[in-house]
Symmetry: C3
Subunit: 279 residues, 3 copies
């Protein structure tokens, strides 16, 4: 039992948290490897936004526009995410638990990455699903399992009480990922075949599956897992994956949609037009 | 006005928060009643996931699959939620305000429960609504009011500045609950009648209404309200309600859907097929 | 490297954060200008809820009901938001970074406003979009860009490491706002023309556009930006904008829907009825 109000005045009460954001900001700014891994994405996301706005301006059909907006949201979320990391707002300093290779040490943890993946990766899946001509149930599955994957990945990164429980969350996150992979590799290819978008869907799905497998591998090798890579290299790893899985992916998708609008501009399989009635 | 950066180095700045997670973890681990209330749900959620995957494998129609995935997400969210509680990541230590029976004392607050209910309870309502053949407006009402109920319940649990305002949030949360009950008790029964799923809907609705009423009652009797029950008993109360309202509910629903797929496999009332055009 | 567990016992570990909520609560309660700006909204939101429930009771068509529930959610979210601010739960104490007019000073930051706008403003756009007869792609654009605007506005308010990055987030938030404005000013007016709801849509859109422009202007002039206005006046500014853009807006919308249900009660453009098939 402690007195309800401590003698401490208001002034210093949030000082520790406040100091941290400014100090993390300085620490990031003074680490060239880490810092460049973040600013490179701010720049590329900004360039992608301008490029994608230009590429999508002439789209007419509802489904093509929906794909375009979902794709455009990927670099939009990304630029906000990376500015948040650079500012230190979404970067914590965590003490690793006993058993972890860096046990007892304080490690910079850019947890904002996981938070914003929760918002950006569903957009990638929405765009892919619309391209394949998904139905509602499959899209719902892909998106909810993807959000589950990101949120439990965030938890895996933030647990500091037990090394074992970090890996338990890692395994749960991977289980959600398996459900996403199932939709990508089994369900949607058949839909894309029927929708006549098989070729481009296949290319983008392969790109997505291969690159997305890189994230849990990096988690395991990086600071959060076995710590074989240091903070800056881990961060560059994620940044490189983001560049390929987000901007390059989105560019290829939009270029195809802009050139083949008629192929995706037909009946919207989510919209309950006549194609739905055949279910 | 304080100097922008305190003299304190980075190292100790987040130490208090860090220490807390590890200490909460130890405190939970050393309390057999509390600890068992959490691990029991981890085990049951894990078993439910495996069982439900097996039960749903042969479903074919879109609506049946959607019900299945929504139902499967309930134990998936639950296992992540309970691992979060066990780790201490989503458990706080709050000092109760003057007026509260435990005023000035520090109490373990597993606020992660409220956060994850925000994600799992909409899935229960989605499954029930699809079973009843809901339209979009009723489903939107049920889900948004349910999210409002969970988020304001979270706020009720986290307010430590005023005993009165804890109960104000409790009342707001109950007002959202009344809206959910209205959909469950007035709107959907008529839809289920029309859809021919009246019997199973009635059973599952009764189970849901009775069990969901248990949560605010437990809040009032438990540590968060009048504190007639201690932390471990309160936690077991929520865990028991979760077991019945989540895994048992989901099992009954899936067993029925698997055996009666044709009854739910017809036109999707949310999808705008021919049944929609009659609205 | 610090020892994994500090000598500090559990008891004082969260004391700083705890003390803050109670102290912020007292500080708000003792500032008549600030306090009245919050309680006025609690009262008006409560009154609006009762009024709107009464106004919507006789609505029959699905689309009219959907507009009604979305509109009703605006004061429901609002009352929860303002009780959260009054309690101190969603109000922080931030030290402004060098370069800011209040550099080094601690400022009360009611960040809960941004969080709850993320939930309430999509409801306003949903109601407006349904009134205009939007398609899925435009509604998706408006809502996702709006959420992006609110979340990056929250980030702008919480960054304390760099004055420049506060404004970078402000600019990103405004870029999202431009996308929302594009839908409101270019896309939906044409839809409303086709749907025969042009007059009321025009009125409500003008009200929304003018008032929503007030928020970034107030951010720039208030404590968060150039600090030309103090905390109490800034808070009254937001509260006055909320009163007009939320309760008055919602009242005008619901009054029109209640009197003209037939005009919005037709085919739901999001529902894939026959009007969808013509896309």
């Amino acid at each position: 039992m402690i007195p309800y109000k401590t003698a401490a005045a208001l002034v210093p009460s949030l000082a520790p948290l406040q100091a941290t954001q400014a100090e993390v900001f300085d620490r990031i700014a003074s680490d060239v490897v880490l810092s460049s891994s973040l600013w490179a994405n701010v720049a590329l996301a900004g360039f992608s936004i301008l490029l994608f706005v230009a590429m999508g301006r002439s789209l007419q059909s509802e489904r093509a526009k929906l794909i375009w907006v979902a794709t455009l949201l990927v670099p939009l979320v990304s630029i906000a995410s990376y500015v948040g990391l650079v500012s230190g707002l979404t970067v914590g300093v965590l003490t690793m638990p006993p058993g972890h290779p860096l046990a007892g040490q304080e490690v910079l943890q850019p947890w904002g990455r996981y938070l914003t993946w929760t918002l950006s990766t569903p957009m990638i899946l929405l765009a892919l699903g619309l391209l394949a001509g998904t139905d509602r149930a499959k899209l719902f599955t892909a998106v909810t399992m993807d959000v589950g994957m990101c949120v439990t990945g965030l938890a895996a990164a933030l647990v500091t009480s037990s090394y074992l429980l970090r890996w338990v969350f890692f395994v749960i996150s991977c289980a959600f990922f398996v459900a996403v992979l199932y939709v990508l590799l089994v369900e949607w290819p058949a839909d894309a075949q029927a929708a006549g978008t098989s070729e481009i869907f296949g290319t983008l799905r392969n790109l997505t599956v291969v690159l997305w497998l890189g994230y849990p591998i990096l988690w395991a090798l990086g600071v959060e897992g076995f710590a074989l890579l240091d903070v800056g290299v881990t961060s560059w790893g994620y940044s490189a994956l983001d560049i390929l899985a987000k901007y390059v992916f989105a560019f290829l998708l939009l270029r195809w949609v802009a050139a083949n609008e008629r192929s995706v501009g037909g009946a919207d399989p989510l919209g309950g037009t006549t194609t739905m009635a055949d279910d």
